[in-house]
């Protein structure tokens, strides 16, 4: 165990592309944690998907050994954080495990939205935030101005911030020295009852769940019985140790202030929720660490195999993903149009997109996803009360006494210049203004109560575009309120396609219905016949578009040499059709199902 005074726990916060992962790589190299030869690009982002999206989806941590200029040996624990509002909770837990954060700002781009949002999260978590100006070797670099921006906008002293180039390894040493000097050493009592914060966990098919944690108080050892305070599950620790980029290094014990992992033959990731506190089963802490939230799916969508016969494959894939992602939820669902599939719950749309992509890539599935919805509640005329997770189960209007939709309290932080734009947006999205306050000269916080349904689709994108990227958003569920809801049905060629139905606020029905018909018209390719696209509420048509018939799709010449070519062409056509579902005589590409929710003009 390392002496508390020699430990520094920190994370790196930055806007996408400002060089967070590159800096992490350089720190690993500079401390000889990984040598250059072994350096796989951006080791901390080790999911393929993350690398492509340039965002870190799941947190990871790594231990660096560093001999500082003062001649002392230090242990620096770098804890990586995800960077999207869908994962705000995970970010906040990772930050809570640290005492400091290195804020990376691009020397030419300056401060951007995520820089702000994540910096505020770090400040709120009580962290010492240490600015670093990156990419100073670029011709457009303006480090002095950017430092001033940091001081003016965020209010952090920045004049002495290291000027570095993570890409070219310039001044990395000064970052390490700054961490040793300015990040506070952790506090904690190693003799006290165990309190360790879970900031991530991962399922491993050989060892069970691997829990990533920061020990706040007490000490954990192999053989010890531990209890997850929120889930109540008790396990005997099999192994604990430190995290190295190339694997895990077992240790005899992990004490307060340290960051590492434990395994305990834990079979389900649901027992080790992010934010939960690990304590001793025999000598438990009197209370858990603050800040735990049980995270519930916010949006639900139908997920179906494009090829109906792949239902079993989809079920197996979901089972495997669930092992690694406690925040995902699924249950079987049956649509008349699409057959057997699943209703899946997600934290938000990004989470949903990531899960969909993983299903398609890692399990080689072609999927159709229906428009996501929130959970509605309904008082029925027969006195019963139901929760509606899918439009497929939405009751007949005659049976509804009162419908309710979930509301959130949204907190939006942005520079004062954009208040007008934000208010317009929130009002348009049925938001109810609560209050507004200046956090300091450069940022305002607005509180709104908004239907969750208005937030989940493209609100964050709309907010970013209306605040030039500076707006940040956080929200929490505050309960259900009475609402006027209707179910909108879509008919293709006169036949209802249940998988395209969705629930919406009644006053918006006409405008949305028209828009959706237009969207479907754009997304469904012309076919041999004219296809009417209609939107209806309870059997009454309220919008209509027509997809004109395809006039010409013919190969003019087909002689000896053309036959093989023509066959290949037909094969390709067939491949394309695999991503389509046929309803009656109408083929609908899988994208069309999602297109209905893109409202952007």
């Amino acid at each position: 165990m390392t002496e508390l005074s020699k430990i520094r726990n920190f994370s790196i916060v930055a806007h996408i592309d400002h060089g967070k992962s590159t800096l992490a790589d350089r720190l690993l190299e500079e401390t000889n944690t990984v040598d250059k030869r072994e350096m796989e690009e951006q080791i901390l982002d080790n999911m393929e998907l993350e690398r492509e999206r340039g965002i870190t989806i799941k947190a990871r941590a790594v231990k660096l050994n560093y001999r500082a200029d003062d001649g002392e040996d230090y242990v620096l624990n770098l804890i990586d954080t995800p960077g999207h509002v869908d994962f705000n909770y995970e970010v906040s837990r990772s930050l809570t495990a640290c005492e400091g954060a290195v804020l990376v700002v691009d020397a030419s781009q300056g401060i951007e939205a995520q820089t702000l949002a994540n910096t505020y999260l770090a400040i709120d978590a009580g962290l010492e935030v240490l600015p670093v100006v990156n990419k100073i070797d670029l011709p457009a670099a303006r480090p002095e101005e950017v430092k001033k921006e940091i001081e003016d906008i965020i209010g952090l002293p920045a004049m002495d911030a290291p000027e570095i180039s993570a890409k070219n390894g310039i001044n990395i040493h000064s970052v390490l020295e700054m961490i040793v000097r300015d990040v506070p050493a952790p506090k904690g009592d190693r003799e006290a009852p165990l309190q360790a914060l879970i900031f991530d966990s991962q399922y491993d098919s050989y060892r069970g769940v691997i829990v990533y944690m920061r020990v706040m108080n007490g000490t954990v050892r192999p053989g010890m019985d531990v209890k997850m305070m929120a889930s109540g599950a008790v396990y005997k620790v099999v192994e604990c140790g430190y995290l190295h980029p190339k694997g895990m290094v077992p240790a005899d014990a992990l004490g307060a202030g340290e960051v590492g992992y434990l395994t305990a033959s834990i079979k389900t990731i649901a027992d080790t929720r992010v934010g939960d506190t690990v304590t001793g089963a025999e000598n438990p802490a009197s209370e858990p660490l603050p800040g735990y939230k049980s995270c519930q799916p916010m949006v639900y969508a139908g997920v179906y195999p494009a090829d109906g016969s792949k239902y079993g494959d989809l079920r197996d894939a979901l089972e495997k993903l669930k092992l690694n992602d406690a925040s995902m939820y699924y249950t079987q669902e049956n649509s008349i149009a699409l057959g057997f599939g699943f209703r899946c719950g997600f934290l938000g749309l990004l989470h949903m997109e990531i899960i969909m992509e993983r299903l398609e890539r890692e399990f080689n599935l072609d999927l159709i996803t229906t428009a996501p919805n929130v959970v509605y509640e309904i008082d029925k005329t027969d006195g019963s009360h139901i929760e509606v997770y899918t439009p497929l189960n939405y009751p007949d209007p005659m049976e509804i006494a009162q419908a309710y939709e979930p509301y959130v309290k949204a907190s939006i932080i942005a520079p004062p210049d954009y208040v007008g734009n934000i208010m317009d947006l929130c009002q348009f999205r049925r938001g109810e203004f609560k209050d507004m306050s200046y956090l300091d000269q450069s940022r305002v916080e607005l509180h709104y109560e908004i239907p969750l349904n208005e937030i989940i689709y493209d609100f964050f994108d709309a907010l970013k575009s209306r605040t030039r990227g500076y707006g940040s958003l956080d929200y929490e569920l505050i309960g259900y309120r009475p609402s006027k809801l209707v179910k909108l049905d879509i008919l293709l060629n006169g036949e209802m396609v249940d998988a395209l139905s969705f629930i919406l606020f009644a006053d918006e029905a006409y405008a949305r219905a028209r828009r959706i018909c237009e969207k479907l018209k754009e997304n469904i390719p012309r076919q041999m016949f004219e296809i009417p696209v209609q939107a209806a509420i309870g059997g009454k048509i309220i919008a209509r578009e027509t997809i004109k018939a395809l006039r010409k799709d013919v190969l003019a010449k087909c002689y000896g040499g053309d036959i093989t070519r023509k066959k290949k062409l037909l094969e390709k056509q067939k491949e394309g059709k695999k991503r389509m579902r046929t309803f009656g005589t109408v083929s609908v590409p899988s994208e069309a199902f999602m297109a209905v929710l893109k409202m952007d003009e």
């Binding site: 010409k552 799709d553 013919v554 040499g561 093989t564 037909l570 056509q573």
Partner: protein, 393 residues
């Protein structure tokens, strides 16, 4: 002795005066290098000699010299090749012997020689009756030359003349196209092929297609339907998507492609469907010459044995190009697959006027031909899901 099986022979002549803007066939534009020509003829002859024995129990009833531009290649060269072909294969006395020609390389000398040698059908590339259009397409001749070529061929004893035309050309209107058809009808060809222009990647036209002002799909569809009507009224029966003939003058050679009959192709890029295999040679004349003469290089670019089930798919794909269409009896007998799933797909299409029943055969209507890629796709889908008859029983 067993009865001889019919066989078509195609010989590719990859030489042209110049390359047309839209053309993606394999040919060399420019001068005819005498040594290359000679080597090529040599290679064809060796290839005939090699292949002949494998076709011992076949009777060649169609021969087709395509290109490229066989007329540009010259009568003497064509004669040499044809003479050797007759030496190595059994060629029927009544065989249909076609050569493709362009108006700029047709002379009475050439026509007389070929006619005397036994050539009996000329397929002339006319494409348009407007000189400015011909120029734009990169064709090295005028419409007047095309008219003269037809008259010369008649005078030299050709009684089966086909004219190739194209619609959907740059700046073309439906009215212009109708006028083209009427002008060409005055030439009284026995056969007409009318092709919708397809802009192929890699052709010069591809690079200026966006500025070409090509007629819309809607207009092209109109042009097509008018073609069928006008030619029908003039006594030409449509027998394939793009082909029309006076009764008895359908191209017997080309019908083999759509009827699933056997043919052997010679020359670079030539395709064969022979003895259960479909194969194609590389589109490279040097490769062909060397591969055939020295036998140290493979010349095949593709070769596949077509399983019966796939033949059933080809039957649907190819037969539906023709006005013979598909027949349940023929289908079930030849492929041992149930026709019923196809019928389920056909009936709703027939209700929409895309199919028509002719006796027990199902044939696409002209509107059906226009979207035949879609229809073929749909039928093949139905086919893939069906079980062979034997299994059902």
């Amino acid at each position: 002795m067993n009865e001889l099986k019919p066989l078509g022979i195609y010989i590719h002549i990859p030489f042209c005066r110049s390359k047309c803007q839209y053309c993606d066939f394999y040919s060399i534009g420019g001068s005819r290098d005498p040594r290359l020509v000679d080597n090529y003829i040599q290679a064809l002859m060796v290839h005939f000699k090699e292949t002949g024995p494998r076709a011992a129990d076949y009777l060649v009833d169609t021969v087709y010299f395509g290109g490229g531009t066989p007329s540009f290649f010259g009568a003497d060269n064509l004669r040499r090749i044809f003479a050797e072909l007759q030496h190595r294969f059994r060629v029927d006395r009544d065989a249909e012997i076609t050569f493709e020609a362009n108006p700029d390389s047709v002379s009475s000398g050439l026509l007389k020689k070929l006619r005397a040698e036994g050539f009996n059908r000329m397929s002339l590339g006319v494409q348009s009756d407007r000189d400015e259009m011909l120029k734009k397409l990169g064709r090295p001749h005028s419409y007047e030359q095309a008219r003269t070529a037809v008259q010369l061929a008649r005078a030299c004893g050709f009684e089966n003349i086909s004219v190739d035309l194209m619609y959907g050309l740059p700046d073309q209107t439906a009215a212009q196209w109708e006028e083209t058809l009427r002008h060409v009808l005055h030439l009284r060809p026995e056969h007409m092929s009318c092709y919708g222009l397809k802009v192929e990647e890699g052709t010069p036209l591809w690079t200026w297609k966006d500025e070409a002002n090509l007629p819309s799909d809607q207009v092209q569809a109109e042009m097509y339907l008018r073609t069928v009507d006008i030619l029908e009224a003039a006594g030409y029966r449509q027998y394939e998507i793009s082909n029309f003939a006076k009764p008895g003058f359908e191209s017997r050679h080309n019908l083999k492609y759509w009827m699933g009959d056997e043919y052997i192709g010679f020359g670079p890029a030539a395709a064969s469907d022979f003895a259960g295999k479909r194969y194609t040679y590389n589109a490279d004349i040097q490769n062909y010459i060397r591969g055939v003469l020295k036998q140290d290089l493979p010349i095949l670019s593709e070769c596949e044995t077509i399983p019966a089930r796939e033949r059933a798919g080809e039957y649907v794909m190819l037969r539906l190009r023709t006005t013979r269409g598909i027949s349940p009896e023929e289908y079930e007998k030849n492929y041992l697959m149930p026709f019923e799933p196809l019928l389920d797909a056909i009936v709703p299409l027939a209700q929409k006027g895309l199919f028509v029943q002719d006796g027990d055969r199902w044939v696409l209507t002209p509107t059906g031909f226009l979207v035949s890629n879609q229809i073929i796709g749909r039928l093949q889908e139905a086919q893939e899901k069906s079980e062979p008859l034997a299994k059902k029983r």
